[in-house]
Symmetry: C2
Amino acid sequence: MENLPQHFDSVFTVDCIIFGFDEGELKILLIERNEEPFNGWFALPGYFVEKTESIESAAERILYECTGLKGIYMEQFYTFGALERHPQGRVITVAYYAMIRLTNQKDLKPVTTFARQAVWMPVKDMPELAFDHSRIFRKGFEKIRNKISYQPIAFELLPEKFTLTQLQHLYEVILNKKLDKRNFRKKMLAYDILKELDEKQKGVSYRAAKLYKFDKRKYAKHFNKELTFTKE
Amino acid sequence: MENLPQHFDSVFTVDCIIFGFDEGELKILLIERNEEPFNGWFALPGYFVEKTESIESAAERILYECTGLKGIYMEQFYTFGALERHPQGRVITVAYYAMIRLTNQKDLKPVTTFARQAVWMPVKDMPELAFDHSRIFRKGFEKIRNKISYQPIAFELLPEKFTLTQLQHLYEVILNKKLDKRNFRKKMLAYDILKELDEKQKGVSYRAAKLYKFDKRKYAKHFNKELTFTKE
DNA sequence: TTGCTTAGTGTAAAAATTACACCTTATATT
DNA sequence: AATATAAGGTGTAATTTTTACACTAAGCAA
């Protein structure tokens, strides 16, 4: 049997959009590039995929190298391959996104030289990014905004225990619109995927709200899925 | 400025799921392979992407080479890159789908040697396909089934003029369930994207039904989109 | 005690979805 | 011409889902 035709080989990469929610703001992870082209520009965490790894594991490895974050499950959403997206030739990139809980993951340490640093950037302050990463980001953001309207996937962004008001704020930030408090609660509780705890919010100077937890088992029942982020 | 790091190069391909609707059946285009591996097996139309073309244009070119069909707009839906999907090494494939009108496109002539022939295969008779193409097909089919439930995208499959019953049959075949005639019509007409013609079905041995046309302009208004298949 | 701030709650109207059955019309058959 | 056949075409009531909307309760701070 012949070998694969090597002359077709193309350069390809993965790029990751990692969402976080902190201080009431939606943020994403960016790296400051330390390589030409676009040296010094902000970019999505991403790099070249090796020949010997699957795309998924490449995404996980590269995210770790860029930021020090480990074991983040990401969902693929689109593959970009326009001729002009890289100044030195056609580079195909497979884009992933994930939502993560920021608690204890705020300190980012790149384990590589191609990223000078990694930062949490509020979505509302996003600068122009290297390559076509701004476009990739817009497409990914649209995707989760769309997805969240028919599937409650946002729990990954909150601390383990959260109040309904926190959850509502998160939705409002992602959907970019105000929601009605009573209707939001009614709907959310109707999903029956939250577990009400015997515990209250602490350290607030007003009436403390009940805390809730996301209940994976109930979620799986309702949506016929194991996890918030679905495997292929 | 340095060049792109060539040692990362990967082999990659596109594969296409082309849906057609004929004789009340949903069909897809398959080719019979004329190359190792999987010589003689059925496979999705697909081949290697050149270094100098975008993925989209590669998809269009390759579909033409496999089948003789030209100018089909396809929508990308997923990229597969598991290590074991090709026996000779990691091959990444970007998968696309499209729905096309079968009228006058039933004769397929491959313009290449890697496909022995192209055929319209009823979805219900699908054989096991080469590589992981069966899995790719299942994922693509699920995608359109899902999409059609919230966006009327199936008109591309019908002849230009069609009856509501034909449209309903198509929906039933894709969704794999019976629909209520009155409710289906009510909903379809409520979308306000069909144009009722002053013309009736011909050559039937029973009462002829009114013919309708898909109205692109109205569709664009309602869904804020130019076409049935959406550009990125 | 009072004031401040957020928590928490219900109901009515409107809209969308579902369930359901019969008469009409064109053709083919006798 | 009459009849049989087969699909076309239509409306309404019940149910469910979604929306709009405002006040009292609780906890903390001064």
